[in-house]
């Protein structure tokens, strides 16, 4: 089989760069990685065929430098560029810049990106494609008095969302009028910092909503197919933590209806490539949320159930191929995000990974950039990777995910793994009866039996250290804990004799 492209520049970092690279390599496409000052040792650099340094640690000095990255792509003789997600993935100006060159941008047209990237315009397009909308404002309101009046009309609680936003960034929930002014200021500041555009708009908060999205794939010949849904309601700070497919509450009829709505929207805007139409689902109804004009973080669960490689499809379609009717979905798939964060507070956790062992076994896929020695820095998103499982049905998939998560050993930063375990153990999650508020309802503290075990293990380890030191010195001497381990280690090595 002839590869659809010869050499691919991956304008991203982290797990998604690695994910794209894996498919490219399988297809016989050469890969070019780009990297910032702090990513020289990153896996996406080490696994690429070629790698080019593009600047400083801050995204604006490296991964967001569209013109420079495009120049690198040309210079390296690339005939295609994959933007991944985040960074330049939904930057219409960048897609525009690529359009006139020999470098094919793996994404939709600049017009489609621009339209869908503007949440206000996107709502208008959805409306005219006959896709249901959540009640709200369709434009940015700068004046705080008008904003207060409109919010009162829509009814609290309301949300302030960045017009240029996505990925949960730049969203603020406002419970009452006295919070509106502060929330507006913070939302605009986040929007400006994250997207270089401070416009925000108002939307009603739908009660007990579920976040359900449809994966679509459109070709250059006017055909669109969908790969069913992904249920992404397990979110903290409006960022997804766990995703699954199929969604437990969708009937076949509703799935078909949502799929058709998503395809209609894609046709309406002349969409080409992989895209995701996000919906809010509540009590048998669905509302358009936004369309992400890129590959999603959670795309692997679709791949597991449909037996498709969405990156390979993106490449094939960008080279002029026609979409193929998806195979029927099989079994159940769950993904969890392994973030460097405190599982109880969800605050970022930085550090160097000092110990790592990864899970394996049947039905387990790990898309991660983890390695021993990895320094987790504050410059980028906190996601270190994703663990994905596939099984015959949902209960088996839950059991498999639990099993795989407990196989992970990772020290140096705190991670979201315990929070994911809490979700898997939660009765309403297991019953499939949950909404986007699920994480607020779950006790995220450590279960008491784990605490007892950890206390016993820590005390035993300490005792064992003292015992060994005593055996060597003839008397127990207090030793600083930091050096205690080194000492024990040395003694263990000295004592390597058959027991």
């Amino acid at each position: 089989m002839t590869p659809p492209f010869k050499r691919l520049l991956i304008a991203n970092r982290g797990e998604i760069a690695l994910r794209i690279m894996r498919t490219a390599r399988e297809l016989g496409i050469e890969t070019v990685a780009v990297y910032s000052d702090v990513d020289r040792n990153a896996l996406h650099v080490r696994r690429a065929d070629r790698a080019v340094h593009i600047g400083g640690a801050l995204p604006a000095e490296s991964y967001l430098r569209g013109e420079h990255i495009l120049a690198v792509a040309k210079d390296q003789g690339c005939d295609a560029l994959h933007p991944g997600y985040g960074f330049l993935a939904e930057n219409a100006d960048f897609a525009d810049a690529c359009a006139g060159t020999s470098v094919t941008f793996l994404g939709p047209s600049p017009q489609a990106i621009r339209l869908m990237g503007d949440k206000v315009e996107a709502r208008k397009a959805a409306d005219s494609a006959g896709v249901p909308l959540v009640p709200g404002m369709k434009e940015d309101v700068q004046d705080i008095a008008t904003l207060k009046q409109k919010a009162a009309e829509i009814g609290y609680p309301v949300m302030l969302k960045a017009a240029a936003g996505g990925g949960g960034k730049g969203i603020r929930i406002v419970e009452s009028e006295d919070q509106l002014e502060d929330a507006d200021r913070l939302a605009r500041a986040e929007a400006l910092a994250g997207f270089g555009d401070d416009r925000v708009y108002l939307e009603k908060l739908v009660s007990r909503p579920r976040h359900v999205e449809i994966q679509i794939m459109a070709d250059q010949h006017g055909s669109v197919v969908h790969y069913g849904e992904r249920e992404c309601s397990v979110q903290r700070r409006h960022q997804k933590l766990l995703e699954e497919t199929p969604c437990t509450v969708l009937t076949d009829e509703l799935r078909a209806e949502m799929g058709e709505a998503a395809c209609r929207l894609a046709l309406e805007v002349g969409y080409v490539g992989a895209g995701t139409v996000e919906f809010l689902y509540s009590e048998g109804k669905f509302y358009f949320l936004e369309m992400n004009t890129r590959l999603q973080v959670e795309h692997p669960i679709t791949e597991m159930c449909y037996g498709v490689d969405l990156v390979a499809e993106q490449l094939r379609i960008a080279a002029g191929g026609a979409v193929e009717q998806p195979r029927p979905s099989q079994g159940h798939s769950i993904e969890v995000r392994i973030n460097a964060e405190d599982p109880e507070t969800f605050l970022p956790s930085l550090g160097t990974i000092t110990r790592l062992s990864t899970p394996g076994g049947p039905g387990v896929r790990l898309d991660a950039v983890l390695y021993r020695g990895l320094e987790v820095t504050p410059y980028y998103d906190s996601m270190l990777g994703k663990l994905i499982v596939h099984a015959d049905d949902r209960p088996r998939a839950i059991a498999r995910m639990r099993r795989a998560l407990t196989e992970i050993r990772l020290l140096g930063v705190l991670t979201s793994i315990p929070a994911c375990l809490r979700v898997l153990d939660d009765a309403s999650f297991q019953a499939g009866d949950y909404d986007t508020g699920i994480l607020d309802c779950i006790d995220r503290s450590v279960p008491i039996e784990i605490e007892e075990l950890a206390a016993l293990a820590a005390a035993t380890a300490r005792y064992r250290g003292t015992e060994r030191i005593a055996a060597h010195d003839g008397a127990a001497q207090p030793v600083r804990p930091a050096s205690r381990w080194v000492l024990i280690d040395r003694m263990e090595k000295l004592e390597q004799r058959p027991r």
Binding site: K169, L186, A189, E190, A193, G194, R237, P343, T345, L347, P348, L350, T354, R355, P378, Y380, D381, S382, L405, T406, E407, I408, R409, L410, L411, L414, T415, I417, P418, L421, S445, V446, I450, E451, E452, L453, A454, A455, L456, A457, A458, A459, T460, A461, R462, Y463, R464, T466, E467, A476, P478, R480, P481, A482, R484, W485, V486, I488, D489, E492
Partner: protein, 168 residues
């Protein structure tokens, strides 16, 4: 010798003995028969507790021990009797002044107070930007700002002092 563990605000104490070759732990009215075997560099070990098997990783930094077991990561403070006595002597806390420290590394996006300002409980002192999120850092109690250790635009490390408050 007793060993004290503290997780959150829950304390437990353990004593150990050897019964023949067998390591035995006592805590409260419970007794555990243990077998601990070190793996690799000595920070990982396999622990048998009354025959049930646990893969454990222990990362000890100063008095804080991180224990990873069954997918969970637990912060445990461990002290033996001697260390406990020493810390009790040194443990008198100075009241009145409180230093607000950075709960994460980040960049000071906005400084909302000045020296001399009276602040209320929960008032935002500054906004710390980390991993693209704007995180308000708030006063945990009313007081007066007596010193500011940072400035807008500065990068701060985890635990870095930010603002000193003289508490009411």
């Amino acid at each position: 010798m007793k060993y004290f563990t503290k997780i959150g605000d829950r304390e437990r104490d353990f004593t150990f003995e050897r019964q023949g070759g067998q390591l035995v732990a006592h805590t409260g009215d419970k007794t555990y028969h243990l077998d601990l075997s070190l793996v690799g560099d000595g920070t990982a070990f396999t622990l048998l507790v009354d025959g049930s098997s646990h893969d454990v990783v222990v990362d000890a930094v100063e008095a804080q021990t991180l224990v990873q077991v069954r997918g969970e990561l637990v912060k445990v403070e461990v002290q033996d009797e001697r260390e406990r006595t020493a810390s009790e002597v040194a443990g008198a806390r100075v009241g009145g002044k409180r230093t607000v420290v950075a709960s994460m590394p980040g960049i000071v996006a906005e400084l909302s107070v000045q020296v001399g300002d009276a602040v209320e409980d929960g008032q935002t002192l500054l906004i710390l930007e980390a991993m693209k999120m704007q995180n308000p850092i708030q006063a945990e109690g009313a007081g007066t700002v007596v010193k500011i250790h940072t400035q807008a635009g500065a990068a701060v490390a985890n635990g870095a002092p930010l603002v000193d408050l003289d508490e009411d």
